[in-house]
Amino acid sequence: MGWVTAEAPRPAELSACVDCGLCLPHCPTYRLTGDETASPRGRIAAMRAVAGDLVPIDDAFEDMMSFCLQCRACEAACPSLVPFGRAMEGARAELTAQRPDPVRRTRHALLGRLVSTPVLLRLATRAIGLARRSGALRIVPSALRSSLAGMRDVPSTPPTIRGAVHLAQGEERGTAALLAGCVMDPWFGGVHEATIELLKRAGYRVVVPTTQTCCGALAAHDGDTRRARRLAVRNVRALQAVDLVISNAAGCSAHLKEYAEWAGDGGAILADRARDVTEVVAAAIADGRLPKLSMNRGAVAVQDPCHLRHAQRIVDAPRVIVAAAGYQPVDLTDDQCCGAAGLYSMLFPETSNELGENKAAQIRVTGSTVVASANPGCEMQVRAHLENWYSVAHPVELYWDAVRENETLGPGTDSRGE
């Protein structure tokens, strides 16, 4: 029966693959299993088989697609530039359309609504906080519990940055709209604060329009295409008339850059303006708008979120930022997925756990107890798998802490404009 949706994997995407296999060693699920059917090339072969009507979309197809982390490591490794992430989103859309599944439908309805409705998320945040403090978290399903294990301590009524307007310090370069995000707003206030303060100092007027919503990445990855489109269209409307649209969650900035796919021409315009905060801050450090601090703060292990490194190919920026804070960035053994991967940790807890353990082991051998991670999901996953003497933070937070300290202590250690 082939494909039925407009999002389905496209012929040009599938035929771009020449079966060379060079992506295989970069794929975490292939690495764990040694199984071609858990590899990028195998998944493309399966999509082709469906496209060519050789097989129906059956259990085997669903298993093969669902097991993919959508980490896009294969995409970065592919010499023939196969847009694997896009094709996989298409395959997920087909699963939704062709394989009615009450579990998936419930997940779409509940989670989709939760992440795009701030009020609900705030209620949930309060409930999680209560549960954690009272020990009641023990009764929630273990997959959910381990996904939340790496949460930061969050106040029961966290502040929001929505609606804020901050003036640029010094000469204004333009207006940047900040994506408040879903969990970023209530759970990662520190990252937002650092982002806003640094953007101001880098010369941006920062606005956080209230009508914006969740970027829709989770929905798009999970085949909830109707919701993904709706959210993207809403954001395009909310985030107009600015020079940049900035996100400090790598998964979201990666998705904003693909808005052409989800929200037509308006989406393409937004995609053009979308930046990850690490890019903008690193650029400001490079041209002297933000300081390079010469203090020595020791080593920091840099964990590369897949959607920063593989999807956006941003590798240097987080290193530049922590170096400017006075840390020595240390690379991990490999750049494989930490296993958080959005909903993956709930759907495949075992695999997620194994990858999380691998990542934690790689961090331990660096000898550093400070870890920089530019994506909330990765941060939580890494923290959950490390001992409590490790501190995990966004690179801009580490940098902002240093800049603030430098500002209050006076400019003795400042080497601005060097």
Partner: protein, 487 residues
């Protein structure tokens, strides 16, 4: 014994059900794949043909491999070993419903730093091995361009080489012993830790046998010390002839560079688009040379290479400043085949050898053939040893294009053989070039090879229909081998 009847109607038959059940009893549900989609996915390697898979197995120990072979033998169904499936000659593609044995889970490595050797599981990836031994200052010398993905088992089976085999030799020069499961499911140990084992060198026969003699489960490999210094040079030319003359000039000057690689312009353009390493896309040919050894010698040799390149009208010479730049240049070269797909969705990669002195003549003919068949062609070669890889990019959905590709490939092979070259530099014969074997081997030669296979595997259990054309055994058909036609 009667040869296996392999023309059985596929699947769903009783034998398939019992076969799958026996395998699942052995390996459990998860490591036996028998649904149509997963079988389909395993039906192909890095080449262009697709075959018929009855069931896929993922053993984790040599004992399991042996047991799988015994089960398959009992069911009289062929066994096809598979590594990473990066082979380009269809070697891991079953020609009839077969048990595919994926060796990817045999990943143990045991290094003996004293003797600079390692016992390596067949499923270990080539580059993983070198990364594993890097802390000891050692690496596995054969470095096929697919080294990040391909397995040691596949390297052994195909006797693979790579850019750095010019000075170091191909896989066969680096394998001391192999552990192999034979057709009766016994585990053999062939060779030993002595470089020149006593008795018949059966190990040497197994290396390069493309999975037709048995399943290699482990290999004892030699490790090579990492060179204390290395320098990589890139030279660009306005004429391919000048690049080729540089290659000959370098060798004539008495230097054996660790690697000496050439790409023509279309190839360079595709590669540059992927890596962005600053490859000169306006040059007709680009040469990559690497010299390794002691720092003083390296500096002197690099200078000499530069001089030779300059005297052969190189328009640009660039020396990689550091390891990162070196890595980037090699990444570009090694991504060459994959990068082609940016130009057209399918490619046919040829692997031939031509005498270095005939390189330019052959190249001119190759361009001419491609022109005549209206195909886009680009070339990469291990120029040092004349291993030529013409690559044709095409769109298989175009009517009749496959016929043109095959006809052109056939002519290219003939041109190379006529120039005194050979059929395969390193990628193996597999299915892809099987029927061209008579171009280089006489009836008697082929008969001898067929007898050898028969001695190991009388019932043609392992990877049947590969390497040797049907009828290689003279009395099989009682008539001369037909002229090599492309299947």
């Amino acid at each position: 014994m009667i040869p296996f009847s392999r023309a059985q109607p596929v699947m769903a038959s009783v034998w398939h059900v019992t076969l799958v059940r026996e395998l699942k009893d052995l390996l459990g549900e998860e490591r036996v794949l028998s649904d149509p989609l997963r079988r389909h996915v395993y039906g192909k390697d890095g080449g262009i043909r697709r075959g018929d898979v009855a069931v896929v197995t993922l053993p984790a120990t040599v004992g399991e491999v042996a047991e799988i072979v015994r089960i398959a033998a009992r069911h009289e169904i062929p066994v096809v070993p598979r590594g990473a499936g990066t082979g380009l000659a269809g070697g891991a593609v079953p020609t009839s419903p077969s048990v595919v044995v994926s060796l990817t889970r045999l990943t143990e490595i045991e290094v003996d730093t004293e003797s600079r050797t390692a016992w390596v599981g067949a499923g270990v990836l080539n580059l993983d091995l070198s990364e594993h031994t890097a802390p000891f200052g050692l690496h596995f010398a054969p470095d096929p361009s697919s080294q990040a993905a391909c397995t040691i088992g596949g390297n052994v089976a195909n006797n693979s080489g790579g850019p750095h085999c010019l000075a170091e030799g191909s896989t066969v020069n680096h394998v001391l012993a192999v552990e192999m499961v034979n057709a009766t499911g016994e585990v053999l140990m062939l060779g030993g830790d002595a470089p020149d084992p006593i008795g018949l060198d059966v190990r040497g026969i197994v290396v390069g046998s493309e999975g037709t003699l048995g399943i290699v489960t482990r290999a004892l490999v030699k490790l090579t010390p990492n060179p204390p210094a290395a320098r990589t040079l890139l030279a660009a030319y306005e004429r391919v002839e000048d690049a080729a003359a540089t290659v000959s000039g370098i060798i004539a000057a008495g230097i054996v560079p660790a690697a000496l690689e050439m790409m023509d312009q279309p190839m360079t353009i595709a590669v540059e688009r992927f890596v962005g390493a600053g490859f000169p896309t306006d040059a007709a040919a680009v040469l990559l040379a690497e010299v390794t050894g002691h720092p003083a010698a390296v500096t002197a040799e690099a200078e000499l290479v530069r001089t030779v390149a300059e005297s052969n009208h190189a328009t640009q010479i660039r020396v990689a400043a550091d390891q990162a730049e070196r890595d980037l240049l090699w990444k570009g070269r090694k991504a060459a085949f994959g990068a082609v797909a940016q130009l057209a969705p399918d490619y046919y990669l040829h692997d031939t050898v031509v005498p270095r002195t005939k390189l330019v003549d052959v190249l001119v003919k190759v361009y001419e053939i491609a022109d005549r068949y209206d195909l886009a062609i680009m070339n990469v070669f291990h120029a040092g040893d004349g291993n030529l890889h013409p690559l044709m990019a095409f769109d298989a959905s175009e009517e009749g294009v496959l016929d043109r590709v095959h006809a052109a490939a056939d002519e290219v092979a003939r041109v190379c053989v006529e120039a005194g070259g050979s059929l395969s530099g390193e990628h193996g014969i597999g299915l892809e070039k099987r029927d061209l074997m008579p171009l280089v081997f006489s009836e008697v030669d082929l008969d001898a090879q067929a007898r050898l296979v028969e001695a190991f595997d009388p019932n043609k259990l392992f990877n049947p229909d590969k390497v040797l054309p049907t009828g290689s055994r003279c009395f099989d058909l009682g008539r001369p081998i037909p002229e090599g036609t492309w299947i």
